[in-house]
Assembly symmetry: C2
Homo-oligomer: 197 residues x 2
């Protein structure tokens, strides 16, 4: 099973992290984003979005880090990480949408600007980041994990760009519940870090 | 089962649409967004995000339109709309992420600006909309539906803000495959429209 990967990408890291936690072997295939390999064949034929990660597992080819987490959890991870019960699955799903939208367009974009020099609106990114970080801080008051009272792919999907928020100029000091949750994720058996963490 | 609803919201409409298509009875509870009811109790206690839709089904309480589609499909919709097979579920899931991010921040934000006067960056929204509409136009070349060769919740999640794109100043004429797909969705048994369609 091959993951088209970039070591500095939080979206790739969420897949590497979940694979490590659930002991799923992955072969990493680095994509040269600096050299523009993601915008031309053969990569662009695998993912017309021109984005990493991409997962290839036999005939299965997937873009989008959230969809890849769903695939790995359903095929190899068992019920704990993503249950099939409708209410439980939907509770996890709420956080996959949060990862795809609020986290991506908040702390992740703030990091793209601060660390990689992307020409995006810094004020908007910081405002969006502070809104979602405030919501998550309140959600995590009295909760150990994002959903179902246990680690799920919701935590894997949201973790990278929250833990990397300082790289985007967002201090975590004002968010003690988020910090405690980050420590809990870091303490999971088989946890792996990424550059910047 | 109660849907906290706004008739002009495409995110609420995607839930109403899927419920209609799969004959799931919903009680609509309109939320007075113009009057700010979404930002104060009792609504804000149901959803700290301060956003519609919210679904209440007995003890189940869900924010996020994609998560609500997952819940309804798993509980009441059967395997066709959201299968449990890992690869099939992940194929659908890719489009739920697209709905949460690219569609929301492209054509939906363009509409918020043009129709409702939101103070957001119009040039960025139009650029993001044109990128995703181009990708979808190419994806739909030779395909009838977004995923699995049949209607799924992927179509329900993406349909509203693509079909409403003209309200955001985005003409659909240049996108014949998207237009043909919109016609196919409109032709599904029990299809319901929304204001602006």
């Amino acid at each position: 099973m091959k993951l088209y990967d970039l070591s500095l990408s939080g979206n790739c890291y969420k897949v590497r992290l979940f694979a490590a936690l659930s002991e799923i072997p992955l072969t990493l295939e680095p994509v040269d984003l600096q050299g523009g390999a993601h915008k031309r064949p053969p990569f662009i034929d695998l993912n017309p979005w021109g984005e990493v990660p991409v997962l290839q597992d036999g005939a299965v080819l997937l873009r989008d880090s959230q969809a890849i987490l769903v695939y790995l959890a359903r095929r190899y991870g068992g019920e704990n990480w993503l249950p099939t019960d409708p209410a439980d699955m939907a509770e996890v799903m709420q956080w996959l949408s949060t990862a795809a939208n609020e986290i991506q367009n908040g702390p992740s974009v703030a990091r793209l600007i601060a660390k990689f020099g992307f020409a995006l609106d810094k004020a908007v990114a910081l405002q969006r980041a502070e809104r979602i970080m405030g919501l998550m801080e309140r959600h995590l008051a009295g909760r150990e994990w994002l959903a179902l009272g246990r680690p799920t792919i919701a935590d894997c999907a949201v973790f990278p760009y929250l833990a990397l928020a300082p790289e985007g100029g967002l201090a975590l000091d004002a968010y003690p519940n988020i910090c405690a949750w980050i420590s809990r994720v870091r303490g999971l058996p088989n946890f792996i870090p990424m550059p910047g963490l």
